[in-house]
Symmetry: C2
């Protein structure tokens, strides 16, 4: 019998989550039934959307119940299998939640395929975050050669992919990130055409300077004061795929009040397209296409990525809390000891 | 020599326009040059977008200069022609502005074609407002059979067409209008499935009741507190073509403050598509298609419309001012004596 650890939602946060909103528990792992697989988790992905699952507020997915296991995607190694598609030693990914071990139906697991890139990319640049960037840009943003694509959290797993895809497809990539180190990474390592620090007092004018022809696609994953700076620069027929609003998740946005009429007026004036999306809309039909397109480019180093790997399962809550205010640098992944 | 009258912008309004923002002037009409046509105006269209032209604020079109003639579309009779396509007696439409007579290049005029419907429809249900409804619904709203389409200003030229097209295409039409008379017209005459009075204190709950399955398409031409009531009812993959924001034109919206995060959160949560548009985006390729599709239906009475015809050129400013707060009932047209 294996004793697993799991991290549950101890209480719902008000504002920014605190360590006491989480609780680490031990739990006896049941034996796998027919069709199930026992998995030892190697890596846990931490992502901003999880903040939404901690609240009861209306969202696109049901909240985690209090005392329920925190949701999340993981990479693991199969220990035992009673499903024909999996054998001990197989490396799989699945939505097991924040656990060290899981017994899960085999039809809810997928073999990890990274085209030669490291395993962790399967929950990062070649997983949900990378696919969010790829599908949102391909099906909603649709940048044309020569157009300007702007994205915030540009050193993160979504933003870094958005900018590199924009370049690959012939557009200009402008990244917005927090602090000099992240901006240097975005410009020098990822090769964006420009990177702007969102903490600068002159964000609106600095952004305007590097977007001299305006912004054609703004890939929205942040909201808040970055959106305020982007809005006046959007060109006619601009597209704004919205995949996240991290600045608002803790209810601590610094956006100016009463911006709605201004936002809707800009949508009208510039014939803007604003479109929310969750990557699950596109994944069933297009994930394999994404992986075969982007996987080899990641493996070869043509597309770059950065991961922020935290060691130790029990450090997940602290790392998650920090991520919500930009404390991470790259895709945040917890490596289980 | 003809002495024409014209109405110019005397000064820019702050908030709601006042009569003193307009001035009626006499002007000697020049002789038509080669390629030009002299037109006596029969009907002047008054439309909410003209409020935007009175301000210097950024818009999708240049403002009318102070002392400049107010912009607008008219229907007129050709008096003299030095253009091969037009002869005296022809009925034409063009953007002559608020004038009683005009000398205008023939290539800027079009013959009026209404498929047997009255002349005035060429600047109403079969003109820019009708085409705005048709193109925004066809290319952006895309209602599917059984879906719910909601529209405000539902007794007006855009809203009344939106709801009737929604019905024609198999969707449910819910109209929002100001006052019992307009609501009765929308429901009983136009045949919408339901009509709600936006002046009701219970607008949100009443709207929810008649949109039991939510709203799939909200055709936005008003903004303000109607948008506040619609937003929580929008379904996943909802579409919001935005063609106007009348509630905000005078800077007197009653929308609650700080709705931006809520709006963007709804866009994200429900994977909404919000798209501004000006009908000129679609007119070059699709106006003829619209006219041949809808013209016969208007002429036969299958598609209904209502006009609010004001008699006398010099009454245009007062009628326009009243329209901005819903004082008209149907497409507002000035008939020149």
């Amino acid at each position: 019998m294996i004793t697993a650890k799991r991290i549950v939602l101890a209480s719902r946060p008000t504002g920014a989550p605190k360590p006491e909103n989480f609780r680490v528990e031990d739990a006896e792992l049941p034996e796998a039934d027919e069709g199930e697989v026992t998995v030892r988790i190697l890596y846990l992905s931490l992502d901003p959307y999880m903040r939404g699952r901690m609240s009861e507020a209306k969202s696109y997915a049901a909240p985690v119940p209090v005392d329920g296991v925190m949701e999340g995607e993981t990479i693991g190694e199969v220990l035992k299998s009673r499903h024909n598609d999996f054998a001990p030693g197989d490396i799989v990914r699945g939505r097991t939640g924040w656990v060290t071990h899981a017994v899960i139906r085999g039809d809810r697991l997928r073999h990890v395929e990274t085209h030669g890139a490291p395993l962790t990319t399967a929950i990062g640049v070649l997983g949900m975050p990378g696919f969010t960037a790829w599908s949102g840009l391909k099906f909603i943003g649709k940048p044309k050669p020569g157009e300007t694509v702007a994205v915030a959290a540009a050193s993160g797993p979504v933003g870094s992919m958005v900018g590199q895809l924009a370049k690959l497809w012939g557009a200009r990539a402008v990244g917005i990130a927090g602090g000099a180190d992240k901006c240097a990474f975005v410009k020098d390592e990822l090769g964006f055409h420009a990177a702007i620090d969102h903490r600068s007092e002159n964000l609106p004018s600095e952004l305007k300077t590097v977007c001299a022809d305006g912004i054609d696609v703004y890939f929205e994953n942040v909201g808040g004061h970055v959106w305020d700076a982007v809005l006046p620069l959007l060109n006619t027929y601009g597209r704004v795929p919205v995949c996240g609003l991290v600045a608002h998740y803790n209810g601590t946005s610094t956006s100016e009040s009463d911006r709605l009429p201004e936002t809707m007026s800009a949508i009208l004036r510039q014939s803007l397209l604003v479109r929310g999306f969750i990557q699950t809309e596109f994944a069933p039909d297009h994930f394999d296409e994404f992986l075969s397109d982007i996987g080899p480019r990641v493996a070869s180093g043509e597309i770059k990525y950065r991961e922020d790997i935290v060691d130790g399962f029990e450090n997940a809550p602290e790392a998650f809390i920090s991520m919500l205010t930009g404390g991470n640098f790259g895709k945040l992944i917890v490596q289980l000891s």
